[in-house]
Symmetry: C2
């Protein structure tokens, strides 16, 4: 075991926060192609105007640190809506008290630049009707107006809980996570009142929880899921990947490789839990063994947190895959901090000292 | 102590349920002046039409068993909106496992008749723009589509929790109550997407919880509170009053009388907790003493559950009233079942055997 839950103030000081950055301080050469909203009432007004002019709104909720995964969701939203609202808010209630809220990457200027570039791309292509119309970048006080946002499981506040889904998989090691996610999404859905909201399949449990919330609470927003976007080598894109560095990034590929091995078993006709999961476990064990034989300056160690084969709606663990329903195969692993770095080695943001939790998943489609 | 938490299957069999009653079976002579919706999609379509024609919707959420209190909320809504949607749904998740869900009065036909009469009244008056346009009377499966509605405090489901407000006062003796109320109101707000929603001041903690929920979740519906409607003698109207009967109804007036005594102290310039509350306690003690001296066929016994003097926003108990904020004075008492009835006595629905919990409150306005 390593000190997974340490916080890294170094990263916090390295990174910008959005707190004092507004649209007025943006350093783009041309005027921005979208408005930036820090508060709710003016956004509501825009929304009402759009509604009455029969325009449609797609919401893409993010915590900033935008990468190609986010941009692909926006591209998808642009094909299905006239107006896209991107929210950027690092939501404190989904981080546990010992998690990486303070070190979560905050990259406002580059996020805005990426969205500007994407709007230019959408205009040139002219195949999608949609454009980014607004960024919603609320303060914490706007999102949590009455009580300070609590990260304690028994803390006070106004929360949405989706049980038992929120206790499974990621929820087992992160007990407040999905309460925080559901809560902030309910707020965003109420504020934006979008026709559609877009989430990446990479956070598959999040998609299941949010779909359930929308169904149970009759939220008038359709949930759309975008495929996981991967680096060329297969690593699922994630805002936290910047902490990996070259060595851990290479070894971290084991996650996708293990999932693909299990997928291979399913596609080859296997449907029993153990025969499917053993294929993944075998890959993880082989790579961990290989690393263990190397010296501290060469290796990158990790722990498998879970490998799950679950029902797509209830997320209950399956003994046998129902061919009519398929399954969700998902896994999480914790990349330990590097024990020793080599001179000149690219160890990533935080110098290889930040533990990184990687998650990934594959959907097993029904066979029939 | 008496068997407060017994359920009364007698009442259940006496009363109609809405389950099989639809608009088609209504026995009104003229066609109904409003539509009845059992499911969400057609209501959403109506709502969208209203929105695009610049009409405004007021939602009046009820559990049926309509009385003058509900009707006064609808009259208020009619002055502020063009269209009123009344929801009638006995919400299972706000009843504890040992509370009176099964015996809660269900009076569909008379509810519909009252709403028809009120629409006729509104048309004749012609001073209010609004009319009742729709009743939303959803099934439990529509409101709780994925899991059976749980009344257990640690039960599974999709819930809204508003803490610490939900644990105070009524929440102390009814731990799931405000979770159920907040959850069903969030669903109704999402379904109806009303400009305004109307609640009675009689359930004062409910108004505080719902206002907080709307603020914290940025619900786009304004909450409007209607004054408590009282019988001529002062008893606050409540759907549960039908269980009182003449004798308990008379004694139950002690609740309002006690509150009025404390209000008198406040209006006379007193602001300390004990000097205000002692005025109420004195009344309650006097009446209970008087009853104790009577025989079992004459008396109606009760227990004071709480008398509270609380901050209007946080509901925290006050030692001294802040003259700039005022206070909420509230109380609950439990009317015990009659010990003995007299021949021909009107003991109310359930024959005097149903314990009845009465609540009431007064708002102390700021002095400045």
């Amino acid at each position: 075991m390593f000190a997974w839950k340490r916080q890294f103030s170094i990263a916090n000081t390295l990174l910008k926060t959005t707190t004092t950055t507004t649209a007025r301080t943006m350093t783009t050469a041309t005027p921005p192609s979208f408005q930036v909203f820090r508060d709710v009432p003016p956004l509501r007004q825009l929304r009402r105007t759009l509604l009455l002019s029969n325009r449609t709104v797609g919401l893409v909720p993010t915590m900033g640190a935008l990468h190609e995964g986010h941009l692909s969701l926006i591209r998808q939203a642009a094909t299905e809506n006239t107006d896209i609202i991107v929210s950027i808010f690092v939501n404190p209630t989904q981080f546990g008290v010992n998690e990486d809220l303070s070190s979560y990457p905050r990259t406002w200027d580059s996020d805005v630049a990426k969205l500007e570039a994407l709007n230019a791309e959408l205009s040139q292509q002219n195949t999608s009707p949609g454009r980014i119309t607004a960024i919603l970048a609320p303060t914490s006080k706007v999102m949590y107006p009455t009580l300070p946002p609590s990260s304690e499981i028994d803390g006070d506040g106004s929360f949405v809980t989706i049980l038992p889904l929120a206790k499974k998989l990621e929820g087992a090691s992160r007990p407040v996570f999905f309460r925080g996610v559901a809560t902030v999404c309910m707020k965003l859905f109420n504020i934006v009142n979008a026709e559609r909201a877009y989430f990446g399949q990479k956070d598959v449990q999040q998609t299941v929880v949010i779909r359930r919330m929308v169904q149970d609470f009759h939220v008038g927003t359709e949930i759309r899921i975008g495929e996981t976007v991967r680096e060329e080598d297969g690593l699922a894109m994630s805002s936290r990947n910047v902490y990996l560095g070259v060595r851990r990034r290479g070894v971290g590929l084991v996650l996708y490789e293990a999932l693909r091995a299990a997928e291979g078993a399913y596609l080859a006709g296997k449907g029993g839990r153990e025969e499917v999961l053993d294929a993944a476990r075998g890959v993880a064990k082989r790579v961990l063994d290989e690393q263990s034989w190397l010296g501290p300056a060469e290796r990158a160690l990790f722990e498998v947190d879970y490998i799950s084969l679950a029902d797509p709606d209830s997320l209950e663990e399956l003994k046998v895959i129902d061919p009519a329903k398929g399954a969700i195969l998902s896994a999480a692993l914790k990349m330990a901090p590097l024990e020793e770095s080599k001179p000149g080695e690219d160890c990533g943001l935080g110098d290889g000292k930040v533990p990184v939790r990687l998650i990934d998943n594959l959907i097993f489609k029904p066979r029939v």
